[in-house]
Structures are given as C-alpha cells and as structure tokens.
Amino acid sequence: MTAIQHISTSRRIKDRVVQGLVYLAFALAVVPLVSVLWLVIKNGLGRFDLDFLTHSMRNIGARDAGGGAYHAIIGTLEQVLLASLISVPIGLLTAIYLVEYGNGGRLSRYISFFVDVMTGVPSVVAGLFILAFWVLFLGLPFSGFAGALALSILMMPTVVRSAEEMLRLVPNDLREASYALGVAKWRTIMKVVLPTALTGIITGVMLAVARVAGETAPLLLTVFFTDSINNDPFSGPQMGLPLFVFDQAGRPNDTAVDRAWTGALTLILIVMLLNLVARLIARWRAPARGR
C-alpha cells in the first residue's frame, strides 16, 4: 500500500515560480492596454467637448484651435455600418454553408482555405484592390461606399470564422431534436441553430467591427479625404475617424495634435458603445437564464 505523500519542497517551489511567471505574463499583457487607455484619455479629454462632436474642420485654419470631428464620426459610422451590412450576411451565410451543408466536401474545403487566405490580407491591400477595381477600373468616384467595400473585405473572414466556430458549438442533439419534430432543415437552422449561437455570433461580429473601425490605410485609398461634412456615403469624399487622427497627428501644432488625441478617444468610445449595444441585444435575445 502506498502511503499518503506530502508535497515536496521542490514541487512547492516550482509551483510558486510558475505561478509567478503566469502573473508576470498577465501584467506584461495588461501594461500596454492600460497605458494606451491612460494616454488617450489623459490627452484626449481636453478637447472632448460638444464643439468637437458637432463641428467639422471646415474653415478651420492651420493654426486655429476649435474645429471638430463631426464629419469623421459620421463617416466612420456610415462606413462601418455599410461594411457590416455587406459582410455580415455574406459571412453568416458562408458559415452556415460550411457548418450545415458543406459536409467537408471539396467546395467547403476550398472556401475554408480562401477564408484563411483572406484573413491574412493586409488592410492596405484591400484598399488598393478597391482603388484599382472601383475607382480606376469602373471609374467610380471616391466615396464612403468604396471605403465600406474595402472594410467589408477585411470584415468578412473574421465574421465567417467566428460564426463558423459558434455554429459548430451548437450540439447536434438540438438539430436532431428539431428534425425529429418534422421541422425542415432550413427552419431548424433559422429557429434553433442560429438563436442558440446568436450571442457568440454577435460577439464575433463586434470584434470584426472593432477591427475595421480603426483601419486607416484602406480608407485613405478609397474614401479619400475631406474637411467638410458629407452625409452621403455614396457620393464624394468622406472622412473617417482613423483618417482624422492620422491627419491631425501629422500637423505641426499642438491644437491639431490635441484634436488627434480626442479623435482617438472618440473612436475608442464608439467601438465600446457599439459593443455595449450588441451585448444588450444579445442578452435581450439570449436564452433566459436561471430557473
């Protein structure tokens, strides 16, 4: 019979050391996050006023204080919304095909492969593609919609991947339970599978939105640039918050740099707000918890 063993000192020490390393790694990971947030809030709060949120940069001279990012906020919201409207349905349908209909066949393997390839496309390449196709080849003007197209190229693979993951997590039992009730496959997907995976899908979509909301390079090549308010994403140059930050931060005077910080803060807040809204929707739609 083996006796009850006591934890040896060396094991105790190893445990401590590894625990320490894990905490250290965590701290290292959090430091940049906290410092970014801290810097942006500290420097951005100064100009974060009503003026900033309601005015554009039109007629603001190079050395003038004042001005705002209203045009950029409108642009970012419209572009991201349009990009989501394009990429979420396509991405979701792709994921549904891969999980529910593909059965690991040749087409679904090809799709999977190309989604992986798309994940690796640098954002500037997506911008260049739309520039070449939309603006140069089709001869259409720079517009918020062109920017949305570039962003949707970046969003789509993220949406497909996360939705696919979430759909695969739905237990097969539930599909079978639904089939056994004499429910057709597409209805099973609509009424049983998708609602069950909804929370996760929304989280995935929000991550994709957060990713593209901060993209600068593709916008630079597709929505061009403007200091004025342009509410129509389908005609004429627009602005986006990342572009605004990029532009203002490159200017030589402090008032512009302050605007850049505030622009960054606004962008972070917008993404956070969207996240919050999505989470509320998810909670409202999610299965009721508890007994």
Binding site: D173, S178, L181, R291
Partner: protein
C-alpha cells in the same frame, strides 16, 4: 391514430460500413415494442431508420422497406420531413431547446411547422404536458427556460414536445438511461398510458425495463465486432423472458454475456 409498422429486408449503412442487415419485423399499433441487445448491435440505428432520422448523418443510407400502414416510407416520392412529423422521437439525453421556455419547447413542433392560433396552442401545450405527466410541476412557470428543469423533467418535456405534434408512432431511444429510478418510473408509467394512443418503440439496455413495460421484445445481436447487427429473435415479451427459442437470447437475458 396509431399505426402499424412493417419492416422487410432492411439494411442500414454508415458510408461503407453495414450496421444492420436484413431486419424484418412487424410492430403492432397500440403496443410497446422493446429492442434489447448489446451495445453497438444496431438497435438505435434501426430505430432511427423507422423515421428516416438515420439519413441525417452524412454518408448514412438505408436499403429495404419500411411500411407505415402499408405506405412505404422510403418510396422516392416521400418527403422525409413529413415522415418525421408522423413518427416522433425521444432521445437518450434530454435535449430541450436552450433558447426556448417550457411553453415554447412544447409548442416548437407546431410553431416551426406553421401558424397556429394562440388559444389553440395553449390547449395543445396543456394537453401535451398533461400527457407527459409534467403539467402539475410546471404549470406555474411555463415561461421559464426548459433547460432549468431537472433531468427527469427535461426528458418528460421532450416527450411532451414529441407528442404535441400528434405523431402516429413514438420512438424512444434509451429514454431513461440518464435518469434516476424515480424519474424512470414516471416515464414508464407515462409509456403505459401513452400506449393507448400511440405505437411505441423503445430501445433499452435495462432488461427489467423491457420486461416491465413492453408487449413484444426484439433481441438484436451481431455475430462479431465489425459484422452487421441482426434480429436474433422477436416474440411476446413474456415468452422472450421465460422461454426464448434461441440460445443466444437466453444467454443475454440471463446475463451470461453482454
């Protein structure tokens, strides 16, 4: 509304693997038929061929005939979805829809199949839950999630869900294997009650259960691992458990193997 099932020369495959071979039997209406046999002998597979759930698995297919009151379920013109509407199924593990309340779970079959008025639905939900002996336990919390019930209650909820679409036949794949004796008893009582209206087929590993609840019993076995499963013997339950014809049946029932 109970119907007879006649199976003749049925083979079922998973891809290239033949899981069951040449099964023929008659399942009588308004009775409980039990399938017993060692694990992996194809009982559940056979059960799933009866309502065309087998083919839901990629690569799975069926050869042979299943007649429901004379109508071939595997005729090329038959819509599998409508077969499943007529032949309900209860699974081994309780699987209520997690996004739905108790009420919605029971209503799911009807609601997902078309429009039913609210008052009609209320009636169906109540009768189904009463039919599944669950009404008294849940009538005050119909809007709470179905996943919040205990295992035995969840299984009865699944039974209520299955009978809400008013099938002709109810297939039960080891419905009590995940339940405690009290919940098992509740479900056995329920089966005895349901048999007045439905044709019931149950797969079970519990010999006593088969002896207690069923009218007829079929014993499935396979010659060896990797070979397809077959029906060794099928007879009145009382005969099967007291005086089986086949040696293998007797060995299995008395616990000499399996």
């Amino acid at each position: 509304m109970s119907k007879q099932i006649q199976v003749s020369g049925l083979d079922a495959y998973y891809g290239g693997h033949k899981a069951i071979e040449d099964v023929s039997m008659t399942i009588e209406p308004r009775s409980i038929t039990a399938f017993i046999g060692p694990s992996g002998c194809g009982k559940s597979t056979f059960l799933r061929t009866l309502n065309r759930m087998h083919e839901v698995i990629p690569g799975a297919r069926v050869e042979g005939k299943v007649l429901l009151d004379g109508e071939d379920l595997y005729a090329s013109s038959v819509e599998p979805v409508s077969v499943r509407r007529m032949i309900g199924m209860v699974f081994q593990r309780p699987n209520p829809f997690p996004t739905m309340s108790i009420y919605e779970n029971v209503a799911a079959g009807l609601r997902l199949n078309g429009r039913v008025s609210k008052s009609e639905m209320d009636g169906v939900v109540e009768t189904s839950l009463k039919g599944a002996n669950l009404w008294n336990e849940v009538k005050d919390r119909l809007n709470k999630p179905g996943a919040g019930l205990s295992g035995g209650q969840q299984q009865r909820l699944c039974i209520a869900r299955a009978i809400a679409v008013q099938p002709q036949v109810l297939l039960m794949d080891e419905p009590c294997s995940a339940l405690d004796p009290i919940s098992t008893l509740a479900i056995e009582d329920l089966m005895a009650k349901l048999k007045d209206d439905y044709t019931i087929v149950i797969v079970t590993h519990n010999m006593q259960q088969a002896a207690r609840v069923s009218d007829r019993t079929a014993f499935f076995n396979l010659a060896e691992q990797g070979k397809p499963g077959k029906v060794v013997e099928m007879d009145e339950t009382s005969r099967m458990f007291t005086n089986p014809t086949e040696k293998a049946t007797e060995d299995y029932i008395t616990g000499r193997f399996g």
